[in-house]
């Protein structure tokens, strides 16, 4: 056992840190630091730098443009970019579709779709959830019927994050009537195809990350089918199981804990900065200890220790604890804001109009960020579902 990272890993950390410091555009950095709204061009400005450096697709194999990192290097990359207040890589094309295309796509599909993903020219939305079928994909109803060279798709997808940024949709559709394992296919759909309506769903924090997509007799060329018809379930499971690194959100928690300390050092109560009061020190220390324990639990797994007998369950444990911890940090951020959490000038959530907020710019987005953080325990398989899974493995049910 060894507590230090290797010299090489430390070197890599310095390299990433320097890169973020030098290449992350200042306005994007400030938006992330203050929890303000990011638009597609903000992400792209950063992703373009990562692309140049060859770091945009950490989870892809080297032959498709991945950097060939070890799990620890990927871990360090995530942490350093987040600590430097760079935007996360949220693009579903990079995180989700890319690995599926690489594993199951045709040569033609790879040639056509992978390069624009890496260059952030084409953004992909994920179309899995449907109204009434959240964590329960088996009750999916969007259908695709083969007509000549096309599939004709009808249905309704929901919770498609960032669809308003996106050019294409990858999507599960029902092509048969039996068990999901035998009746679902995986289709790529150009969002400009006639018959598609994207409707943004205003979030509790006023944001429009969420959308729903209506598909009304949408004709999709058969060449846009991934793999075989009715095998979509296999590809979807591969996709969902693929991206587990960083599921604990340690980097994101560190980023927000640093923000909390910064804010607690400036906001005053009774004339003194919050961080000088024993109560605040104890609360912050308690979160910091929890975060250390989460981080080392994750690193222990990275070095091969397995907790649960069943695969995937360790990720559930990290997800549960990681999201709850991040939510606790956001709760304390809200508390630090005090009365400054009350005003809500939506325009001021954009950096360009930040001066319209009637509070200090560092505090303007805290209430919105707090509200948004409630999603952490809901999205990506609600924590109740994760606990069910973990209990089954723990209890050998």
């Amino acid at each position: 056992m060894k507590l230090q990272f290797s010299e090489q890993e430390e070197g890599f950390r310095q390299e990433v840190r320097a890169f973020v410091r030098e290449r992350l555009p200042e306005d994007v950095r400030r938006k992330v630091e203050r929890g303000l709204r990011l638009e597609r061009h903000d992400y792209v400005a950063w992703y373009a730098k990562l692309y140049e450096r060859g770091w945009i697709t950490p989870s892809w194999p080297v032959e498709h443009g991945g950097p060939g990192w070890t799990p620890v290097e990927r871990y360090i990359f995530d942490e350093e970019t987040l600590l430097g207040n760079a935007p996360r890589i949220i693009a579903s094309g990079i995180n989700m579709l890319g690995p599926v295309l690489i594993a199951f796509g045709s040569e033609e599909q790879k040639r056509r779709h992978l390069p624009p993903i890496r260059r952030s020219e084409v953004w992909w939305a994920q179309g899995f959830s449907e109204p009434g079928a959240g964590s329960d994909l088996a009750s999916m109803r969007t259908s695709a019927v083969r007509e000549g060279d096309d599939f004709v798709v009808n249905g309704h997808k929901i919770w498609t994050s960032y669809a308003h940024f996106c050019d294409w949709l990858f999507c599960l559709v029902r092509t048969g009537s039996g068990k999901p394992q035998e009746s679902i296919s995986f289709l790529l759909i150009d969002l400009k195809t006639p018959g598609i309506t994207v409707r943004p769903i205003r979030g509790i924090d006023g944001g429009d990350d969420l959308n729903e997509v209506y598909l009304d007799n949408v004709r999709v060329p058969a060449e846009n089918l991934i793999g075989e018809v009715n095998k979509g379930w296999t590809y979807a499971k591969y996709l969902l199981g693929h991206e587990r690194t960083g599921i604990a959100g340690v980097g994101a928690s560190k980023q927000q804990l640093a923000r909390l300390k910064r804010i607690a050092a400036t906001v005053r109560d009774g004339g003194r900065p919050l961080i000088e009061s024993p109560g605040w020190r104890e609360r912050i220390a308690a979160l910091e200890v929890e975060l250390l324990a989460l981080e080392y639990m994750g690193l222990r797994m990275l070095s091969g220790a397995q907790i649960a007998a069943a695969p995937g369950v360790d990720a559930s444990l990290l997800k549960i604890r990681g999201t709850e911890l991040r939510q606790a940090i956001y709760e304390l951020l809200l508390e630090a804001a005090g009365p400054a959490a009350v005003p809500f000038v939506e325009e001021a959530l954009f950096l360009e109009r930040a001066d319209e907020a009637p509070v200090e710019p560092e505090l303007a987005a805290l209430a919105a960020n707090f509200l948004d953080s409630r999603k952490l325990s809901i999205y990506g398989g609600a924590n109740e579902i994760q606990r069910n899974l973990a209990a089954r493995a723990l209890l050998g049910l």
């Binding site: 959830s129 959240g134 329960d136 809200l334 209430a367 809901i378």
Partner: protein, 377 residues
């Protein structure tokens, strides 16, 4: 010791409930209303006598208690009503009724009761964080009257107010208990500069800058230099009212969630059948009931005479309501799943109102400290 409502109070509760059901249809709660619509409802509230509830019959009021105000606020909270009832009637109106000269009360209260005049209190200053003591705005003697200078922030419903009650120092330094004086200031007076903005719950507040504002001596509210105790009493009345509003909102949230888990299916069965959710719903219920009891206690304490006891119990209520709100909103959103994260679901609107109440007039930590000062003295 009695928590039961009188027959008149039960009638008031029913009347408020009917009014709210009619005026705030469930589907549009939380959606900002047109000003004309709000004005219309304000008139209806005046017609019902709600705006005169706590004032004397001589001013057109019905001389009812803080418990009756609680009944109204609970109904408004459940309906997510956004009218400036607390600002105008409870906080500022209450101050005028408590400390105003007959002339001041005659000039303001009948108009408030008729819905023709709105008031607000301008108390907090930038960076103050719930503590009125550091107050720095100044009012200097100037001939017969005063010249007022200073900044105020987070004046709820400030842009709708015709008259402001402004706290400023006529002597002493920030931190002194003595020397704070209250002034009745016309919102349109020269030197009053308003910057209004929306708040998280879809309502409005304002920052004010007072520059060399001339205030005649007869607009001093209460004794010069003795404003702090008045402010503390008014804030406790306001907090008690907000606690009642929060209880109404908590009830609505619990009801929405119970209804949702009974209908929403996952893996073929209703969410309500999952024991883990059942147990958490019971904890939500207990939190709501403890909050309800404490809102009642706060109302009764406000009606009582002893200032220290009032402070202790009102702070306890604010703590309990704040903790209940945190638990119930968190669980309500979680159990609604992705739907709970949208603006299209009522849960978020109640959550935001509760969040604003929680962060206003002292948060849990602030009131825990204030409670401790009384209880552990």
């Amino acid at each position: 010791m009695d928590f039961s409502l009188s027959d008149e109070q039960l009638q008031l509760r029913d009347a408020v409930q009917r009014f709210c059901e009619h005026e705030y249809p469930a589907a549009s709660r939380g959606v900002p209303d047109a000003p004309a619509r709000m004005d219309e409802r304000w008139r209806l509230m005046a017609d019902m006598g709600l705006l005169g509830l706590p004032f004397s019959a001589g001013h057109g009021g019905s001389e009812l208690s803080a418990v009756d105000v609680m009944i109204v606020m609970e109904g408004l909270g459940r309906a997510l009503a956004c009218e400036p009832y607390c600002s105008t009637v409870v906080l500022a109106g209450g101050l005028v009724a408590a400390a105003g000269t007959p002339a001041q009360a005659d000039a303001l209260l009948p108009a408030v009761v008729r819905g023709e005049r709105r008031l607000a209190i301008a108390l907090d200053e930038p960076g103050a964080r719930y503590d009125p003591l550091p107050l720095a705005a100044k009012a200097m003697r100037d001939g017969d009257g005063y010249r007022l200078d200073g900044r105020k922030t987070l004046v709820f419903d400030g842009d709708a107010a015709d008259t402001l009650i402004v706290a400023a120092r006529t002597s002493g330094a920030p931190g002194d208990r003595d020397g704070v004086t209250l002034f009745l200031v016309d919102a349109t007076a020269r030197g009053v500069d308003l910057h209004a903005y929306p708040t998280l719950d879809g309502r409005r507040a304002a920052d004010f800058r007072f520059t060399d504002v001339r205030v005649p001596a007869d607009r001093v509210l209460g004794e010069a230099g003795g404003g702090l105790a008045l402010v503390e009493a008014a804030l406790d009345r306001g907090i008690a009212a907000l606690c009642a509003e929060a209880v109404g909102a908590l009830d609505a949230l619990l009801e929405l969630t119970v209804d949702y888990v009974k209908v929403r299916k996952q893996f073929g069965v209703a969410l309500a059948s999952f024991q883990a959710l059942q147990h958490r719903l019971v904890d939500m219920l207990i939190a709501c009931e403890q909050a309800r009891a404490m809102a009642g206690v706060a109302a009764m304490a406000v009606d009582g005479g002893d200032a220290a006891e009032r402070a202790r119990l009102v702070s306890a209520a604010k703590v309990q309501v704040g903790n209940a709100a945190r638990l119930v909103t968190r669980e309500a959103i979680q159990m609604h799943g992705a739907m709970g994260m949208t603006d299209e679901c009522k849960v978020g609107h109640y959550a935001k109102r509760l969040l604003v109440i929680g962060q206003s007039f002292g948060d849990v930590r602030h009131h825990l400290r204030r409670f401790g000062q009384e209880a552990l003295a």
